[in-house]
């Protein structure tokens, strides 16, 4: 039983997304949520299969975000693919900014440490 649930997205999360898009007075049967849960999980498998096939053909071992975006478009999920490409680009921008901030912080720390740095390197050379 636990194994089966591990293969799918949590029904509570799925139900929440469904509820958000429907009018407030709409109701959703438990079986409809379960069906949606299965469909969403199958969606992941289906798209991943397409993406990993592309990786295999290109002799790449890692399925990345671009592969998912490509697979979505390849399988006909055009709107989804477009929205997700934008999302991925935003995430990458954010990661770059974060990396830049980390670098600045590291530089500041090193500058603040000052002379102790040389003693550190002596220690390491041992």
């Amino acid at each position: 039983m636990a194994n089966e649930h591990d293969k799918m997205l949590p029904i509570a999360n799925v139900g929440r997304i469904m509820k958000q898009i429907l009018p407030p007075t709409a109701k959703i049967s438990k079986q409809a949520k379960e069906t949606m849960q299965e469909c969403a999980s199958e969606f992941i498998s289906f798209v991943t299969g397409e993406a990993s096939e592309r990786c295999r053909k290109e002799n790449r071992k890692t399925v990345n975000g671009d592969d998912i975006c490509w697979a979505l478009a390849s399988l006909g999920f055009d709107d989804c693919s477009n929205a997700v490409v934008k999302y991925l680009n935003k995430f990458r921008e954010f990661e770059q900014e974060r990396a830049a901030m980390n670098q600045i912080n590291e530089d500041e720390d090193e500058a603040a440490a000052g002379p102790s740095n040389s003693s550190k390197s002596k220690y390491h050379s041992k």
Binding site: N13, Q20, A26, I44, T48, T62, L75, G76, L88
Partner: protein, 121 residues
């Protein structure tokens, strides 16, 4: 690990993502698990991939739910049933891969018929 979580939450709260599209709606670890189980060919998955899927799945669920709701309204009802989802799948080309999963003529349908018969008795 902790650093990664902080990174994601910064992206989510400050990255201009509207509240209704909060990707934390779907757990990334579970998405990764499903991806790995999808095929023996899937060996390594980048950190971005489950994040991309969290957004894609949200959009997928929204689309299928909207179409299911159209079926519900056509039936003059306010509760989305499994059959509504099945009909939405059957009438949308891009959801062909779900035909076997969400078929209108499922065992569930038989249960409903039995309930109808019991009510009549």
């Amino acid at each position: 690990m902790r650093q990664a979580k902080t990174a994601y939450s910064g992206f989510l709260s400050g990255g201009g993502i509207p509240r209704q599209h909060d990707p934390h709606l779907l757990p990334l670890a579970r998405i990764k698990k499903i991806m790995k189980k999808s095929s023996v060919d899937v060996k390594m998955i980048s950190r971005e991939a489950p994040l991309v899927f969290s957004k894609a799945c949200e959009l997928f669920i929204e689309e299928l739910t909207k179409r299911s709701w159209n079926m519900t309204i056509q039936g003059k009802r306010r509760t989305v049933h499994k059959e509504d989802v099945a009909h939405a799948v059957a009438t949308t080309d891009v959801f062909d891969f779900l035909i076997d999963l969400a078929h209108p003529n499922t065992s569930n349908h038989h249960v409903d018929l039995n309930e109808d018969i019991e009510k009549k008795q």
